[in-house]
């Protein structure tokens, strides 16, 4: 029985999907930071989280997702406030005063009170490309929550509202169980907020 007829196989990587998930997490992080400032409903929702609270969104086996290749070259001030996407994690920090800041994608030196973990890159791809709504994804076990459950529910609720802001109705209708009616969110408020969030997310934030 010669065993090298059955070689050991080290699985490869799906670069394209990694890159897509990295960018989406970066956009969501930045958008949440801006939305917390701009929209009162999001602010009320995120107010429920305690102060000095870090929240992380990542994809399972942490070691399998190193930072992007150009991450080392970026100067420190870019990585601190996450001007550019450079990793497949998202860190939100609520400091003592209570405002939310996106603090980049590098896990070094950060301790997460609550982490929302996608079970695999494929699952992250399904959720972040809106093939499954957030609720169905949770039911199908696409992502798992580490830390106490109520905080994650508020975070998911905030995420839903931001998605409504960011994406046109066709796409965000897939992600959210119930698309807000006219009464709750006037057309003007939605479009205006969308433009503001986009601009600020990609610039100063």
């Amino acid at each position: 029985m010669n065993i090298n007829k059955y070689p050991e196989i080290v699985p490869g990587r799906k670069f394209l999907k990694e890159f897509y998930v990295g960018i989406m997490l970066w956009v969501v992080g930045r958008a949440l930071q801006v939305a917390a400032k701009v929209d009162k409903e999001v602010k009320a929702e995120l107010a429920k989280l305690p102060n000095n609270f870090t929240l992380r969104m990542m994809v399972a086996p942490e070691k399998a997702f190193p930072l992007f290749f150009y991450a080392k070259l970026l100067p420190s001030f870019v990585t601190d406030i996450g001007l550019l996407p450079y990793g497949i994690q998202m860190f939100l920090h609520k400091d003592k005063e209570g405002n939310i800041k996106y603090i980049g994608a590098d896990p070094k030196g950060k301790k997460a009170d609550l982490s929302v973990i996608f079970t695999s890159i494929e699952a992250a791809w399904l959720v972040l490309s809106f093939q499954e709504s957030t609720a169905t994804a949770y039911m199908h076990g696409r992502f798992v929550v580490e830390g106490d459950l109520p905080h994650s529910l508020t975070f998911v609720r905030a995420l839903d509202i931001v998605e409504v802001f960011l994406l046109p109705k066709i796409i965000s209708g897939l992600a959210v169980k119930r698309y807000p009616k006219w009464s709750e969110m006037s057309l003007m408020r939605k479009f205006w907020k969308r433009i503001v969030i986009y601009i600020r997310a990609f610039t100063i934030g």
């Binding site: 065993i3 050991e8 080290v10 699985p11 399972a60 399998a64 695999s120 890159i121 494929e122």
Partner: protein, 388 residues
């Protein structure tokens, strides 16, 4: 709803079915603190090119495959198990994945016993020694033809059976990329086996709510998807449904008593060397015809599962047993163009029939006599006027 005086039920395996089911394997292995699985694959599955797809699903996970042992063909023998066990120890694996159904799963269970108990062959267990503790985690990825024994708490290696609750696989992965059948015939045979098992569970006198609950979805998937799956084996939804049906049917069947069709088909398969699925497809219609004549009492679960909720409610209580049997007959009838319809068409030697009838009656625990078995086989011999 009739509940028997005493029953025991165990369905140890977890079923993960649907889109991206394969991607959950790293997480499942993590749940068992395992990092390095050995993959035992069916030769036919590897030749169909599923190996590359299977490896790609592990990308971006910390799981390293300790080797893909693909020497399994139609027969699971102890020599293959010993070779795989050598590979397992050499690579320092800690769990086993069986890629493909039938002999691959039996072999995976045998390797699991050899490795976990640190023994070289199963002679101690053939003499009756029980398996002491839980074995290494075993994940089964369904693909190819199933022999209806995957979810059972038993392994059959070298035609010798070893029964123990620790032998149940831990996880069943049913992924639309793996389940499409290679040809209509293999889908038909697995369908016939699952149908015979689900029928045996739902018409058994000692049926209990748990086995009925597991057999109900199996029978309804067979009713809806068997004909379509046989016509187009590559159709993903039909093949996933049929794979689900065969896993559920074998789980329910391992908790209930074997039916006449299963026993007779097992005996004939052993005598002639042809797979049991083909015989079940022939003998089941005759068993149903015999039951119709005998007006045997059957729980309503059979009709509910076969005809669905609306069909069940529409018929009055008295006719449900009879209608249930007729619907099951039509389900099996769906296989007519793919598998032979009668024993004479398969050229089974006549003297095997008497021996099979005697052996089946002996194993049935007095539920049916040898005369009944012989008459069923006689009817299955030409199977002329029945299933068109």
């Amino acid at each position: 709803m009739h509940i028997p005086d005493h029953y025991e039920f165990l369905n140890h395996s977890k079923i993960i079915s649907g889109k991206c089911a394969l991607e959950t394997i790293p997480a499942e292995l993590g749940g068992y603190d395992a990092q390095k699985p050995l993959v035992i694959a069916l030769k036919s599955v590897v030749e169909r090119g599923l190996k590359k797809k299977f490896i790609k699903t592990f990308s971006n996970s910390m799981v390293v495959l300790g080797g893909i042992y693909d020497e399994v063909r139609e027969y699971a023998g102890i020599s293959l198990a010993q070779d795989a066990a050598i590979l397992f120890k050499a690579r320092g694996c800690d769990s086993i994945i069986a890629l493909g159904c039938g002999p691959a799963v039996d072999l995976a269970k045998a390797v699991n016993v050899l490795v976990s108990e640190k023994i070289d062959n199963l002679s101690a267990h053939y003499e009756g020694a029980a398996i002491k503790g839980p074995l290494k985690p075993l994940i089964v990825v369904t693909a190819g033809r199933s022999n209806g024994r995957e979810a059972a708490n038993a392994l059959v290696v070298d035609n010798r059976e070893l029964v123990s609750d620790f032998l149940c696989p831990d996880v069943f992965i049913i992924d639309p990329r793996m389940t499409p059948g290679s040809c209509g015939e293999s889908v038909a045979e697995s369908g016939a086996t699952a149908m015979a098992q689900a029928f045996a569970v739902l018409t058994d006198r000692g049926i209990n709510p748990m086995t009925a609950a597991v057999a109900h979805p199996a029978m309804s998937y067979l009713a809806e998807y068997l004909a379509k799956g046989v016509k187009r084996p590559k159709n993903r939804q039909a093949s996933v449904a049929l794979a689900n049906a065969s896993v559920m049917a074998s789980a329910a069947y391992s908790n209930s008593r074997p039916g006449m069709a299963n026993l007779l088909a097992g005996e004939l398969a052993e005598a002639t060397g042809i797979s049991a699925g083909r015989f079940e497809r022939i003998i089941l219609p005759s068993v149903i015809a015999a039951m119709l004549k005998k007006k045997a009492w059957i729980e309503d679960d059979l009709y509910l599962a076969a005809a669905g909720i609306d069909g069940y409610a529409a018929t009055p209580a008295g006719e449900r047993t009879q209608r249930g049997l007729e619907v099951s007959l039509n389900i099996v009838g769906g296989l007519k163009k793919v598998l032979p319809v009668s024993l004479s068409e398969m050229k089974v030697q006549k003297h095997f029939l008497e021996k099979a009838a005697k052996a089946a009656a002996a194993k049935s625990g007095k539920r049916f006599t040898e005369a009944e078995c012989a008459s069923v086989l006689a009817q299955a011999w030409d199977a002329a006027g029945k299933v068109k």
